[in-house]
Point group: C2
Chain length 161, copies 2
């Protein structure tokens, strides 16, 4: 029949799981492009955000939260320290640990990062009405909760340089 192409099986576009993977990779890539304009990688942006929420953690703890080995965290943090965005402070009680926190400059960049994130959100969701946008966030949160994903952190940071 000549209608074969028109009657494509729905699975050819994928179910929700496929669409999530496809759109997730797309959104992550677009975000990477945007933060590159601030000379940041998504992982670096994630660390800045994490330090704003939870300052004073040791490098080892932060490495765990971001899902990367400590050996990789060191040069990763080095880059941000050299740019004056974060600082390492010896913890008075235990001089082995280096507690990390944002500098004033780091907090300024974080503010610009939030602007970028808002623009990114609008870009990705421009197909939806405000109501649908909220509807989508609600559905996605339900899934994320049920799948026991940690709010605000995702392991994709491991791979997306």
């Amino acid at each position: 029949m000549s209608t074969e192409r028109e009657n494509e099986h729905p699975a050819s576009r994928g179910g929700a799981a496929f669409l999530l993977a496809q759109l997730g990779a797309h959104a992550a890539q677009r975000f990477a492009d945007r933060v590159a304009e601030l000379d940041l990688t998504p992982a670096q942006a994630g660390l800045l955000r994490l330090l704003a929420q939870a300052p004073g953690h040791s490098q080892r703890e932060l490495a765990d939260m971001l899902g990367m080995p400590p050996s990789r965290f060191v040069p990763f943090a080095d880059g941000l320290q050299e740019r004056g965005l974060i600082e390492r402070r010896r913890k008075p009680g235990d001089r082995r640990v280096h507690a990390l926190r944002l500098t004033d400059e780091g907090m300024e960049l974080l503010a610009r990062l939030r602007t970028v994130a808002r623009a990114h959100e609008e870009d990705v969701c421009q197909a939806l009405s405000p109501d649908e946008h909220q509807q989508l966030i609600g559905l996605l949160r339900r899934i994320a909760d049920q799948q026991q994903l940690t709010p605000g952190v995702h392991v994709g940071y491991r791979r997306l340089r």
Copy 2:
């Protein structure tokens, strides 16, 4: 105030873009775990599915569709050919091109792959009612269309081994 933690900014959980990236990475990882039980990587599964939909393409064309360089496609297809899942045939008209297609064994594995994909879909969406599930698919497709993503193919295959 002690209510600070309760009044967390919504952005701490991320908007839709962040949730998509987070859930997308999660769904992709779960899918990778599942297809590993069939001794396949997600990229290999993607090629099998692609060959079922569109048999007879040249390796170069397939490499383009999957977003990988031709040099990488060769050993990638080698593995599947050695397992007897796909076969290369010289195209009669132009003996430079190797047209790829599924073997019978490849089609059998593809059937098992579809079962795995259905289980994966149910797993990821178990937090939602059937109605909500369809609602989510509708919203995601609208976004995917507007963002001009190719149905059925996603570039995450480049990275997810």
